[in-house]
Symmetry: C2
Subunit: 348 residues, 2 copies
């Protein structure tokens, strides 16, 4: 793969940027004009032929303009694309959209997804990578009345879940500490599957009334811990696809949209780098094969990372999307950072 001449590279850049803007194949004349008339369209045509030969450009048919191939986009993204600086106003806007009370994680993700999507005008997705291997750290049972009590569980990653438990059998309040003791003694620090096993084991050694409550508590806890392992992904703005000319065809749109709705889990989740761009066929998933994905990761704390990504046509404004996504990623990192700060700024 030989080096491309400077002029070829510039031409490729113009083609990509023009095509991104107009969604129409771009012709030699337009390119010549855009390059300031320093060369004629005929020269451009020669170069275009070369670039096509080399696989950077494609032609829908003879006598149409050229459009970038995935390989062309790739070169553009890797070498030609200029880092886009966000305007102050836009940075502002990103930060404002993150300035919400940190309610439930879920709501935050939804918000962030919507904000990204509306900013870049493509569908977006957000994931808070959750740690697998989360275990229970401590249990607490609070009496309510003789038939109900509240289970509180604190997890190894310092989150809290609680649930009202209805007891089949009346239980004296005095018995609660005993059950709580069992929970704390045998069910902390272990994986959900192991919890079920230990529950079996405890069956014989425990008084029946206590065991009934114990098993309710354990199965709720196991459910929660397991759910904490599954990453939660939310998507937003999927219907924006319909505004794009490449998805005017209802079948294409349907394929991608139902993928976004039903198989979010399979959206690219590369954690290696700050930002990853997957162009068309570089995607493994069939449904994404003629779409592109730009995804950035952000820091959640605890060395954990979340993801925030955008799905669009291969003809995507990569520079703009990338800039905005990293803006968001920074914002989110800061947000989570602040959350963690208080307990750390101790040495005053």
């Amino acid at each position: 793969m030989a080096e491309l001449s400077d002029r070829k590279r510039q031409i490729l850049k113009v083609v990509v940027e023009d095509y991104v803007r107009t969604a129409e194949p771009v012709g030699s004349k337009a390119i010549a004009a855009e390059m300031g008339g320093s060369v004629s369209s005929a020269t451009i045509r020669n170069e275009l032929a070369d670039l096509t030969e080399l696989g950077y450009l494609e032609q829908p048919h003879t006598s149409a303009g050229r459009m970038p191939s995935p390989k062309g986009y790739r070169l553009y993204v890797n070498e030609l694309m200029e880092e886009q600086r966000l305007s102050l106003a836009e940075t502002e806007r990103i930060n404002r959209s993150l300035q919400l009370k940190m309610e439930e994680l879920n709501r935050l993700l939804t918000q962030a997804g919507r904000a990204v999507s509306s900013l870049v005008r493509y569908p977006a997705y957000v994931a808070a990578a959750r740690k697998s291997g989360v275990t229970a750290r401590r249990f607490e049972l609070l009496p309510v009345d003789e038939r109900n009590c509240i289970l509180v569980m604190m997890t190894s990653d310092s989150r809290v879940k609680s649930q009202l438990l209805r007891m089949q059998l009346k239980l004296e309040p005095e018995q609660l500490p005993a059950v709580a003791g069992l929970l704390n003694g045998r069910f902390t620090g272990v994986a959900p599957e192991e919890m079920s096993r230990r529950l079996m084991a405890a069956a014989e050694q425990t008084a029946p009334q206590q065991f009934l409550l114990l098993s309710q508590a354990v199965s709720y806890a196991a459910d929660c811990l397991e759910a904490a392992g599954r990453p939660e992904i939310v998507t937003a703005g999927a219907s924006r696809l319909l505004k794009l000319p490449e998805f005017r065809d209802a079948d294409k749109a349907h394929e991608l949209m139902s993928f976004l709705a039903d198989s979010k889990e399979e959206l690219p989740q590369p954690m290696h780098r700050e930002m990853e761009i997957l162009i068309g066929p570089e995607n493994v998933k069939e449904a994404l094969r003629d779409a592109s994905v730009v995804v950035a990761s952000y820091d959640i704390g605890d060395g954990m990372r979340g993801l925030i990504g955008v799905v669009g046509p291969t003809r995507m404004d990569y520079a703009a999307v990338a800039a905005r996504l990293s803006g968001f990623a920074e914002g989110l990192t800061r947000l989570f950072g602040n959350q963690e700060l208080p307990p750390k700024e101790e040495p005053k």
Copy 2:
């Protein structure tokens, strides 16, 4: 509005059902055939002319077949439609799809939505009507370490929320009961807005370290209670719209899909009857004007009702959708009923 002759009614019925199946205007010949050849197509034509005159049918243009007008659908739904019995297999399937562990309410709704949508092949939405006027019934503060404690709140509708609170100032464990006492004494049984007011009032009378914690707790509690008042609505299967001929037009599809995504709260939520059918222009919301909505309500317990609905083209198979929806509504009612049963089947 005079009575329609039996034959006219039958013809209308045939037109609706044919049109629902094929999405093509139906002609006199087809109708004659479907009615068993007892009358000729010419007769049918006369009747069709009458029905059109009366506003039950429409013609896209002079020499096309007829299709039902909203008024026609309405008559069909009110009088002509036969209650469709679900096959055993289908009832089975509905119940199976609801046979999941009652995890979080949210997950249940999502599941139910998907199940409905896949069964009727139209987009669906589900809402668990939440009670407004929920208040806190009891608070509990559990110590974790000197900087953290857990707030547990039990609400007036017997649900439990909890949250880890990080304290800006170190607080001796002995002080927690005092704060908990304040919470239970002044912040139970009142609306969120009132809570903030009382928090103000408490500012002066409380030790600063305690107040800091108190205000964190109160604002979290107020947020939760307020969120409990907002009904949560989930949609599913929106992309199915794209499979329907009436939404091949990307603009139309976009309008409705973004409505479903961004304005779910404005989907019809009539609570009056078991089931409600809104046909085309009967919908108030602009975006639903050329769609139809079928919505059923189910019993959550506490005299509260939830909703489960389907959105589709005016040309919807009302009979099939209605049957399946009421199947689901029953299933959900039973599900919630069972949940409530244990504490009630007391007198054994």
